[in-house]
Symmetry: C3
Subunit: 259 residues, 3 copies
Amino acid sequence: VSIITLTTDFGSGNPEAGLLRGVIWSITPYARIVDLSHDIPPFTVVEGALLLERCTPYFPDGTIHIAVVDPGVGCARRMLAARLGTQYFVGPDNGLLTLMLQKNPADADIVCLDRPEYWLKQVNPVFHGRDIFAPAAAHLAHGVPLSALGSPISDPMMLSLPRPQRTAQGWRGEIIQIDSFGNLAANVTHEQILELGLAEVFIAGQHIPNIVHTFGDRQPGDLTAMIDGSGHLSICVVNGSAQTRLNCRPGEPVEVKKI
Amino acid sequence: VSIITLTTDFGSGNPEAGLLRGVIWSITPYARIVDLSHDIPPFTVVEGALLLERCTPYFPDGTIHIAVVDPGVGCARRMLAARLGTQYFVGPDNGLLTLMLQKNPADADIVCLDRPEYWLKQVNPVFHGRDIFAPAAAHLAHGVPLSALGSPISDPMMLSLPRPQRTAQGWRGEIIQIDSFGNLAANVTHEQILELGLAEVFIAGQHIPNIVHTFGDRQPGDLTAMIDGSGHLSICVVNGSAQTRLNCRPGEPVEVKKI
Amino acid sequence: VSIITLTTDFGSGNPEAGLLRGVIWSITPYARIVDLSHDIPPFTVVEGALLLERCTPYFPDGTIHIAVVDPGVGCARRMLAARLGTQYFVGPDNGLLTLMLQKNPADADIVCLDRPEYWLKQVNPVFHGRDIFAPAAAHLAHGVPLSALGSPISDPMMLSLPRPQRTAQGWRGEIIQIDSFGNLAANVTHEQILELGLAEVFIAGQHIPNIVHTFGDRQPGDLTAMIDGSGHLSICVVNGSAQTRLNCRPGEPVEVKKI
């Protein structure tokens, strides 16, 4: 009994995620289907890739991740299904699987979806999520081997994501995501900060003198730096919003310096 | 193992859809339940009817669709359960099933829900979704025949929906739905446009010189006319929002003319 | 096959609820999981407690309710699992289960989650929902006895919630919740109003001369008082929004007087 996850920019209030369930359950009636997010900002492939990186470790072997953030729908971009280690990915070839693939570079099989017998009979050129990706994933969940879904390829599109720069004293990175609490996630990782030992943070003209273990180490209202649930540096305000306090957006520079 | 879909105006962030699941699973523990939308604009029956028309073809035989957009809750309006072809509908008698019924006019059984033994014991007059429609649908999913749920009727309420007018050169219709990408769906269908052969579109003072197959046929930012995933004429901006570009709302007139 | 409900302040569009499903299904693959709400206002424990009170009666015996509205995450607050009558609760010890516990004061077992073998191996100090509460609930659903999850306690934190005051002529209460239709729920219950016989309502300078059975007893646009689906006094506008009409917020005083 497979698990299928959905990551899209369809918008939460819309019926598209329900339609994908109808298509999937028509093919494999017992699949368990879970929404990761339907509120990826429209056409923002990098947000989809970051979300998949963050979420996939918490799903069991065999999980199939459908990701449809697809500004190229109806254009000539390829469509993919992939095995990446013990999990699967189905979606457009636009870089969505970049970070998952970087984790499993040597242990992956990728095919280009070119076998219409595993799609819906009628394919609307602007809704490949419903008409191609959902049925392909459902057939995979139902036991069709990956190799039957299409021809092997070895050159999936990869995103060039902003990476932090090593400086004399530490790292220069940037904010890559902001959650609903207003916490700011930077592209500097726990491992990179551990290299430095004790460190201080500079952002938006503010100085945060150390990186604490958890909210409980500071007082409500304090601007705080810590490691978030996905292993990234997070700038937050205890019981408040760092986004509001600092008036920041993704791309805002962040400096981490060894003390 | 039945599938039950939910279409309501409860609002996505609210617990009502969860409550319906509690009620349904208390009666039929293995039902698979899927949200189509809980963000139908409050009391907008026509939006619910359009959504059901669009979604039901993607669900397998035997699916039960609960629709609760119910401005008359607590008033004297009847409540229905219906078989329409191979699927089922449960909801108020206010026109929600108009479009489903128009597809299956000769192959339908409709009953008025008048058997309280298939409702919750306590019925709150303002929450029939939880107390009547959900349990009725759950009993249907669990094997109770439609005819046991109530007395047959033959005069369900039907909506009078705006239909496009045939003109000398083509069709005069209107925008009926706007999705989260800002694409504008008109009440002119693919079949009606095929009658014309090549066609051009006029909307909000703009002229769109042809109807293309897909986004890929135009450039990002282009105002474009095409056929959407539900078979309707769609006015869109490639990788943008036609709603923002044209400042349109449902009801905006659209002209389609044979070239 | 257990049902697990989720009530959080994670925000609907975010992937956290999906992550909890991944964790739960990794431990107990057949659990049915239902979202009650992920839109509890951040850190608002009282809203979570009210929502659980309202929803739990509609779920079958054995249901496990995970509630994560947790301003103290990462601080020294305890974490709980509890049996309350025939259902279960898992969440922080901050008062979320106050109202459920008041319903079952003599029939409850409560443990403090202090057995890390039932948590994820890596626990992030700011995401106990994913790393502690979800796995603890999943083990409970999978058959681990409550007593194995931690040490018994008898002093869970209880909220002091606003209760209506008895006046010479009736009750003085306040608005405690506003739903997406703009209906205002007060902390005065059906039972308290029945004590009075016929009653009138005063709110925000307006006088409502009686409490009706249902919307159908008044005209569209009428300001109306009735009993809502959770058994509380509700101030509403038929087919409209009382919130907009009266410009009210939670805390607004409400007077109910015997006529």
